[in-house]
């Protein structure tokens, strides 16, 4: 069974982004970029499934500009066998990415596609579900545990009330939540090895996909700032402030 793992290049999770002065977006020039943390968890899970003998090949795919090759190399350093870059300089919105991935699912026929549940830049939380819809496959989103058994996969999902387990027929689409695993540190020898792995590049038009955006971003602005608070010296003062100033208790 092949596993397809889409990965996204995003502003590193520890960077606090700044909104551009002209309101056209956030400043991403000269900002540290990394693999979306949820996607790293997805790659790790796929590689573990291969190490357990459940999967035979792990294919990482990234949609975006040429620099996404770095993200693919990171995925291959974790243990993906090869990479596919769908190169486009245009803005790719979730529906467009899902369509590109559908074209690759049709081509590669993976038993599982494992994605991060959301990218930490646009916080959309859409692509996995959309891919499942377009391929007409069952979905197991927000996965905290994955168990493949025969032609089924059991996915334990992190939901609002606790945990929920669903059984999906393979092939299926899964999105990874935080507690699925803890990704390994990549080692230098594996980084070196990753450089030699196969990386194919396609353009959206090669895959016959129209990636025209459906949402227009009219502006991006700073969120409202909270007024500066105060430090209180002790618990008694805190209780007094909450009762008599903020009046919340």
């Amino acid at each position: 069974m092949k596993i397809l793992v889409p990965v996204k290049r995003v502003v590193d999770k520890d960077i606090k982004v700044r909104v551009k002065g002209d309101g056209s977006g956030v400043e991403v020039a000269n900002v540290k970029m990394s693999m979306n943390p949820f996607d790293e968890i997805a790659v790790e899970e796929a590689v573990r499934l291969k190490e357990k003998g459940v999967a035979t090949e792990v294919i990482a795919v990234s949609c975006g500009d040429a620099k996404c090759q770095e993200t693919l190399r990171t995925a291959m350093a974790i243990g993906a066998d090869r990479g596919i870059l769908v190169e486009s300089a245009e803005e790719l919105q979730p529906l467009a990415v899902a369509k590109l991935l559908k074209a690759l699912v049709d081509k590669e026929q993976p038993g599982l596609t494992i994605l991060g549940k959301q990218a930490i830049d646009n916080d959309d939380n859409q692509v996995g579900q959309m891919l499942a819809a377009l391929t007409d496959l069952p979905q197991g989103t927000f996965a905290g545990k994955i168990e493949v058994a025969g032609d089924k996969v059991n996915v334990t999902r992190e939901v609002d009330s606790g945990l929920e387990t669903v059984s999906l027929s393979l092939p299926a689409v899964i999105t990874a939540d935080l507690r699925l695993n803890e990704p390994r540190y990549v080692t230098l020898p594996n980084i070196m090895k990753a450089k030699k792995k196969q990386l194919d590049t396609f353009k959206p038009e090669d895959l016959g996909v129209d990636v025209a955006p459906r949402l227009k971003t009219l502006k991006v602005s700073e969120p409202p700032k909270r007024g500066a608070g105060i430090k209180v010296p002790d618990v008694a003062t805190l209780v007094d402030k909450l009762k008599n100033e903020a009046k919340v208790i």
Binding site: L95, A98, N125, M130, A133, K216, V235
Partner: protein, 310 residues
């Protein structure tokens, strides 16, 4: 122009997130209908019919809809979608699971986590963990939306008397099956709807200490308990208590953060709270930058002291 709200419910009752979603739907400008898709969900449908401002409730009932499987619920929504300009889901685990699947089937964009309706096709939504607000305009005719409940007031749960139209449930997809559920039992208010939330962080050090320190405070304040991602990752608290960018988004009247440093992703989940109290022994902790009242102290002495003083 009519909007359809996909209700969040457990068959017996509606979840409060439905009420905020109704408000967002009304802001889109047309009539508001509510879909209650479930199994033996008559009580939930009747509750939906009582929501002020709802013109019609569609109650689809059958075994295929018992457990909210995305494949079946999507098919149910698609069977009705033709009549609506807007399809709105609360931005809950269930809403986020189903809305993108519906949107892709309709070949339209999905707009996630809206916090404001500027016009029937223009919405505001936080991006980058709430560090920026994007105003986006949808060019597709049909809008599929998830609603961040903290962005909208709850509609009145009573006062309405909408007609209830019943529909047969769609057939089961055969591709997925519900296996089981581990529900965290609690008599406390629901985290996302609570007026007061007390959250603990990694500084608590163990699941036992988390319980021992946070529970009396929550009991005293009638509060819901939350946790930082670090505390959940460390196993001090279950996943459904996580507050943050990828956990639950809360905006209570009072949020008390104990032993939480205030990582960007945590702030994203609570910084719209009305009043924020931070208790942390590190006076440089980023949580103090959003706190109305900061107390630099060891939580193991300050929290019990607070419980006594309340």
């Amino acid at each position: 122009m009519t909007a359809l709200v996909i209700a969040e419910h457990d068959n017996a009752s509606l979840k409060p997130a439905t009420l905020n979603t109704v408000t967002a739907a009304a802001a889109c400008g047309g009539d508001v209908h509510v879909l209650v898709a479930g199994h033996n969900a008559g009580a939930a449908a009747q509750a939906a019919a009582r929501i002020a401002g709802v013109a019609k409730v569609i109650h689809a009932d059958g075994a295929s809809l018992a457990d909210g499987l995305a494949e079946n619920l999507t098919a149910q929504v698609l069977a009705l979608a033709g009549d609506y300009s807007h399809l709105l889901f609360p931005s809950t685990a269930s809403g986020k699971n189903v809305a993108p699947r519906v949107a892709a089937k309709l070949d339209v964009a999905q707009i996630s986590d809206i916090t404001k309706v500027d016009s029937p096709d223009t919405f505001e939504r936080p991006i980058y963990a709430g560090n920026a607000i994007a105003t986006v305009q949808a060019t597709d005719a049909k809008k599929v939306i998830t609603v961040r409940t903290t962005g909208f007031d709850a509609a009145q749960a009573t006062g309405g008397s909408a007609a209830i139209e019943t529909k047969d449930a769609v057939a089961d997809s055969g591709k997925s099956a519900f296996v089981g559920r581990e529900v965290s039992k609690s008599d406390r208010p629901e985290l996302t709807a609570a007026k007061i939330v007390v959250s603990g962080g990694r500084a608590l050090g163990s699941a036992e200490k988390f319980q021992e320190v946070m529970t009396p405070l929550a009991d005293k304040l009638g509060a819901a308990i939350g946790a930082s991602r670090a505390a959940v990752d460390a196993g001090y608290a279950p996943n459904d208590l996580q507050v943050g960018q990828t956990g639950k988004i809360v905006a209570p009247q009072l949020y008390v953060a104990a032993g939480i440093s205030g990582a960007i992703q945590h702030l994203a989940g609570m910084k719209d709270s009305k009043v924020i109290v931070a208790i942390n022994k590190d006076e440089e902790a980023p949580i103090f930058s959003v706190a109305d009242y900061g107390l630099v102290a060891d939580l193991f002495t300050a929290v019990p002291e607070l419980v006594k003083a309340l």
